[in-house]
């Protein structure tokens, strides 16, 4: 393993200064559950490692002006154990809970998971349906993007060399909203998504009329995608079994288009219907009982 300079800045300003001033291949160590392996297997050979594990004020989950704000160094466990998120953004709770093992969830961070830009990320589809914004900070200022807009392919983002993702935020969904996540893994735990779906449905008060719907699919493209044409099937209509069936067919078509001619296509074309139907039916039942 090649030598690297190691920094453990105590606050974010110090971190940004170091990041801006040091030269060479520099890496931010968030949880490190992917980075440490990559360094050991020499897939990357950083000259500088900036460890944020002990950097203050990056680990919080709070409610502010109708928004939920999550510090990027919050671990998956922090997110899962947040009552606020469990109540207001169940989709994020479920997706984070389905990631990895307890050990990984205890150490991996939500910010790291986004920046890693894996096709099979569990957190991003959930954040996409919550229409989440990420905050990128550097010595020269702050930039904000929708979470999907910083993802530029497998393990690729549009972050500048001197930027750190510091916060994820999203507007708290209204009371007439249901959300959820379902992934298909090879086993009941410790599994990477073969395909996944996150969904948010908002209805007009005391009706089943869909005011807004957001659907995101994981592991069907280089980064998770929004399934807008499937959302359109639902928006403005009364949610029904029939409508869900139509929506599921559209989701499958979107998946097929994105997967392209890969060996996994026949399997994913079919199985995405299974997980979509299950999730949408579950949300439908929830709407009924609300």
């Amino acid at each position: 393993m090649q030598e690297f300079k190691y920094f453990a800045p105590s606050d974010i300003n110090q971190a940004l200064k170091i990041l801006d001033s040091v030269k060479g291949d520099k890496r931010i160590l968030a949880g490190g559950t992917d980075l440490v392996i990559a360094i050991r297997e020499r897939k990357i050979n950083p000259e500088v490692v900036i460890d944020l594990k002990n950097t203050q004020n990056l680990n919080y989950i709070k409610q502010e002006n109708g928004y939920i704000k999550i510090g990027s160094m919050s671990t998956f466990t922090d997110v899962i154990e947040s009552e606020l998120i469990k109540r207001k953004a169940r989709v994020l709770h479920e997706s984070c809970y389905s990631m990895g093992s307890p050990q990984i969830r205890n150490w991996a961070t939500i910010g790291g998971n986004i920046i890693n830009a894996s096709p099979a990320t569990d957190s991003v589809p959930a954040l996409m349906v919550l229409d989440a914004t990420v905050k990128l900070e550097s010595v020269s200022g702050i930039r904000e993007f929708k979470v999907q807009d910083i993802l530029k392919g497998i393990n690729k983002t549009n972050l500048n060399e001197n930027e750190i993702l510091t916060e994820i935020s999203f507007k708290i969904p209204s009371e007439n909203t249901v959300t959820g996540f379902r992934k298909l893994g090879r086993r009941a735990a410790l599994s990477i998504a073969r395909i996944s779906i996150a969904c948010l449905i908002e209805v007009e008060e005391n009706t089943m009329r869909c005011r807004d719907a957001r659907i995101a699919l994981g592991a069907v493209a280089k980064n998770p995608i929004r399934a807008t044409s499937a959302e359109e099937v639902l928006i403005g209509k009364d949610i029904s079994q029939k409508l869900i069936d139509d929506c599921v067919e559209v989701i499958s078509e979107i998946a097929v288009k994105n997967i392209g001619n890969r060996p996994s296509l026949p399997f994913k074309r079919q199985s995405i219907k299974g997980i979509s139907r299950e999730l949408l039916n579950r949300l439908y039942m929830e709407l009924w009982s609300n």
Binding site: I37, G100, S101, I104, A189
Partner: protein, 605 residues
Amino acid sequence: MEEVKISFILNDESVSVEVDPRKRLLDMLREDFLLTGVKEGCSVGECGACTVLIDGRAVTSCLVLAPQVNGHRVTTIEGLQKNGELHPLQQAFIDSGAVQCGFCTPGMILAAKALLDRNPHPTREDIKTAISGNLCRCTGYEKIIKAVETAVKYLEGKDENNRTNDRKKTETLKKLTEEAISDDIRVIGKSIIRKDALKKTTGEALFAGDMRFENMLYGKVLRSQVPHAILKNIDTTDAKSLPGVKAVLTYKDIPGANRVGIILKDEPVLVDHKIARIGDPIALVAAETQEIAEEALERIKVELEELPPVVDVKEAIKEDSVKVHGDTNIIAIKNLIKGDVEEGFRKSDIIVENHYKTNFVSHMFIEPECGIGSYENGVITVWCSSQNVHFDRAEVARVLNMPRSKVRVIQAETGGGFGGKLDISTQCYAALLAYYTKRPVKIIYSRVESTMASSKRHPAIIRCKTGATKEGKLMALDADMILDTGAYASYGPGVITRTVVHITGPYDIPNVKVKGHLVYTNNPMAGAMRGFGVPQAAIVHESQMDILAKELGISPYEIRKRNVLKPGSYTATNQLLTSSVGIEKTLDAAVEKAKEMLKGWEGIL
């Protein structure tokens, strides 16, 4: 490398160290603090054997850089005992029979502790979730889950005798004729706590990787990255010149035989001519540190002439195929003949014929192979993870050209085997390096190296034709099979024999004809794995039974009941069975239990 000064709480004591920031927490704990209860099983955070607690949370220490714990509280299995008393979880693991090989045990206990510290009254689902990041290959988790439930009771102060309750689940069907002397039986039949349970729950059990010797070197193996090639030249000059390197060995340095193998001696200790698979060993290095040894491997220059590989077993049996060794890829053809199979089919009313296919499977014992060699006073000693030290001794003696009496092989605690630690792994390498350096040498495989080098379960392609009368009596079975043993025979000749002999299943079939081929390819080596060819056979005979039953319009239970072996039956090898033939009893007992426990049991009756 610039070291980083860190301070943290380790097992309730404040410690300060200067540490290379590249070091993982796992390595720091094992090497600098000698806390070898922290195990390394996969290096990628998947197996959970390296689990420690950081601020009370379970974390895989292979994914944490040492300086990241600065200012935090770290707990390892060694920190669980208080004032010499076991933690209730440790006691519960012992009492519940939750310990087998013990390699996953420390991590498992810590993951459970992280749960119970936060949630003293977990549900069964909570427990499963809490330990879902800890893989166990031995227990099937059942007794581990039970151990955590038991620990909950211990922590509540309920000191009930768990072990007697535990027994209720298993029913022992006593033979009615059980001897009158059963009153005199004291120890047999009792669920006595295993001898090694205690040290495996405290982290004190020493696996080979946990052993340290003064002046110890580290060994590494250079392995082929191509499946089929002729070795033209090896240049070790550059590797030898690296400071800290104490030996670089090639086949030329082997004092004795350069072939090992359980049944056939076809596997080179170090390749001298032909590379037959990816992972074939080409050279050995011993150096002062693992890192230097790794660097030395990169400095060895190997010239190869690549050959086209044969990786499809159906290709490999063709006469004009690429040959792995010698002039045929067929190692063994086994023919079993009982009765007259044609006549048997003529007497059958229903005949079904199907093709079956199974894959390579990996043992994935949680402890990768490790061995340490030493050479003192003319005696080679090897401590290793192994299933057969006497075989290991014979092979080391042949390779070093020493009498067996001067070779001692000692089994270290072995973290699972399942057949995969029957072949020679590190033993000859550690011995050779110790022989040349006169210093103890430890070789520890990474998970990936372990998977590459160890044997696999044989993939099988099996055709099977089975005939029965309309009354459901089996009359004839005709099968042929091809087993891919990969680059070397290993236990393959034994496996094919066993598959052929067992293909009838536990049924009385008067006419049987089976042909089995064992074939070399340039695939990974296949050898012994739990079941030894019989799992492949069982998939075939049990599927055939259900398919026949459907054709005959009788139930899966009925067709078995009408054909099971009994005392007085003859097996496929014409062996007369006289006693201890319990198949019918297991069938009836299982069906009785199914009626009680399973939904839809009518479907098999």
